[in-house]
Symmetry: C2
Subunit: 416 residues, 2 copies
């Protein structure tokens, strides 16, 4: 996974991709079992445990219709000292009212009891269909079996248990040679798959055996989330269940110093970006990932808004699917999302795969070689598009997927 994302998410020098997932770092146990939530019979309950107390950091959806597991973890766990994550897939436990809240609390209570840990150190996470009650009759024995199967090699089974109808696995690991010694990182993510078609949810779990304090871990992980999961969009729809959660247990014996943070942070960021891009490229029928750069915006807010407007425009997304370098749709999206600053008309540049097609508002007469270069770029699974607004010096970067027949097929299917 990590090595498959070389172009947009290269690991820094000093870090190397490794086999495995969240149990690649020392001192982590995981399991993934088929409890029977998914009709397919696939793994649907996962458990991830640090053998020793860990520092942790968690980032949650901003959606105000947040699911019960988000509320329980966010509001009544010690999110800087989590040691365990229990996840189920196949049911999001979202829009489930008071019963859903009680079920999320029960999941936490049961796992805490099985592992003899305080409830505040157990995070709860769910993904899947919305609005249906959790089938606690199968989840409870499932959690018991998962606890019994916890294993140092269980990371990939855990990663499988958090996925829904993802077409591809999203996991990876890295070895990082820091000045202070060797540490490891492990990743598992899911999305933007569907189960009984419903909204996509992104979950991502990160482990490391590096030693660092909770505040530093939160800062590094937050920066990496900002540069990865917060920069992607499949359909502009923020889920009720999104969660990124990281555990750092220090089991490597390497305590990070200032001199280690640059490389560690770069490796963490590359890994998280690889997971996020994995979600985009598996996003509901997607065939292409676009890296969209917006430059010379009036301010940060405008750069962000223009980037999101272009990335979420169904006209731009279908044009990418159609391999059509349709810069008119990009200018139109930008034109409707500028910051208010009088009636000044937009005069911009657009660049496809490195070739300018519009400069200062005037279409470029393309050579045959240019046309061929653009066509080759559009045919690639990773496409660069640049927009220069000539209004200021703020910029933004957004990664997005195209809108395809498969997206409609997946999402227009009836729930069963």
């Amino acid at each position: 996974m990590l090595s498959a994302m070389q172009r947009f998410a290269p690991l820094p020098d000093g870090a190397e991709a490794a086999e495995g997932s969240v149990t690649h770092p020392a001192g982590f146990l995981a399991a993934g079992v088929a409890a029977g939530i998914k009709r397919s019979g696939r793994r649907d309950v996962g458990l991830l445990v640090s053998e020793t107390p860990a520092v942790s950091a968690a980032f949650f959806t901003q959606n105000r219709a947040a699911a019960a597991p988000i509320l329980v973890t966010r509001d009544s766990c010690d999110c800087a000292a989590l040691q365990v994550v229990v996840v189920n897939s196949g049911n999001a436990n979202a829009c489930t009212g008071a019963q859903g809240h009680a079920d999320a609390l029960r999941m936490r209570e049961l796992v805490a009891g099985l592992l003899s840990l305080p409830e505040e150190q157990v995070a709860v996470s769910s993904t899947g269909v919305i609005g249906a009650p959790l089938p606690m009759d199968v989840i409870e024995p499932g959690m018991e079996r998962a606890a019994a199967k916890l294993d140092h090699g269980g990371g990939e089974r855990f990663a499988a248990a958090i996925r829904t109808t993802d077409r591809t696995e999203k996991l990876g690991a890295a070895d990082v040679e820091l000045p202070s010694g060797a540490v490891r990182l492990g990743f598992a993510a899911k999305g933007a798959g569907m189960i009984s078609p419903n909204m996509a949810t992104t979950l991502c779990f990160v482990t490391t055996d590096a030693g660092l304090d909770a505040a530093t871990w939160r800062r590094l992980l937050g920066d990496a989330v900002e540069a990865s999961f917060n920069r992607i969009t499949v359909d502009g729809q923020e889920s009720t269940n999104d969660m990124v959660l990281g555990l750092a247990n220090g089991a490597s014996g390497v305590r990070l110093g200032e001199e280690d943070l640059g490389l560690f942070s770069a490796a963490l960021r590359a890994g998280l970006l690889a997971m996020a891009l994995g979600v985009v490229s598996d996003g509901e029928g997607a065939t292409t990932i676009v890296r969209l750069s917006v430059e010379q915006a009036l301010d940060e807010a405008e750069a962000e808004r223009v980037g999101r407007a272009i990335a979420d425009s169904p006209l731009v997304k279908t044009a990418v699917y159609g391999k059509d370098a349709n810069w008119g749709r990009i200018v139109q999206s930008a034109g409707m999302s500028l910051s208010p600053d009088g009636d000044r008309e937009l005069v911009c540049d657009v660049v496809f795969g490195g070739v300018p097609v519009l400069v200062q508002g005037d279409p470029v007469a393309l050579s045959q070689a240019d046309e061929e270069h653009i066509a080759a770029s559009m045919a690639d699974a990773e496409l660069d598009i640049g927009v220069v607004l000539h209004r200021g010096d703020a910029s933004s970067l957004v990664y997005f997927s195209d809108l395809t027949h498969e997206y409609v097929r997946i999402n227009a299917g009836t729930r069963t």
Copy 2:
């Protein structure tokens, strides 16, 4: 057209649908010719003229990448005293730089010369492909032929000439019996068709032989635009070329008094809403029009934002296409677009076709009869969805179309 839209856009008592279009009111001439812009050989240059000086009102796209004809009409015409509209389809004259601006001016100059009117009284409008220069070599003779063919019965040919790949015609007329006498209204609109797939543009032209002053006409038409074209969305993409333009020439001899304005305004609004809904129902592959009501929002801005978020959510739009009453996706869209007011979680109601499916955040156990009623509503071409936010007393209404395979097919096609 007007009578086909009875449910969502009924004409008021005292108004009756009539045959015809923008030349149904007295004193209007129109023409539509095939100049050769469209490869199909269909009509692509239209001319609409009031025989006598008229009062006028025009409303333009807010897009800051507005096309040349928008800039010319908006910035250098007398928009309260227009007497002529010249329109071409097949080419939007958008993103065409200085040449495009010169071409729009030339269209205006030529028509003003042909009709011996001041240039300031001639509006210019274009729709079609973006970024290609206008083929003036065919447009100029086309405009001359249109001027030679102006006719009191030319409204339907004009309406044909403004369409691109619309599947259905969008025109209509009404007779209105006011206290002060009989007046007539005529309508022609286009959208959301594509030509050599590119962005949709909405144009709408309204005529009346009622007599009223420019300020009143602007206020009535503005209110009607607000309640119709400003309440629809197909894909959330504001075009570079949108224009609604109305001409009122007083040729009926009936000068409107205060006692006439209520009925006249209601008929105008119903006609404009019928045109707008015609655009939605013909919107790029659409199979269903949804009338979405958002109630009890914190404030107007929130009501509007939540309505737009739901209407533009590809997950909601594909669910409507799939005839799936997927209220979870509606709650999710609402939850991501609330006004900031602390961390209060959303607790809302959702109603499909009159049947509550979520009440105060709790899913409703539906009876067999409820399920059947919902299924029948979803199968209708006009569907009502209601969302009650329980946060305040502001509300909004938005009309939107579904997202279908046909939408992707149309928009992923390569420009030729």
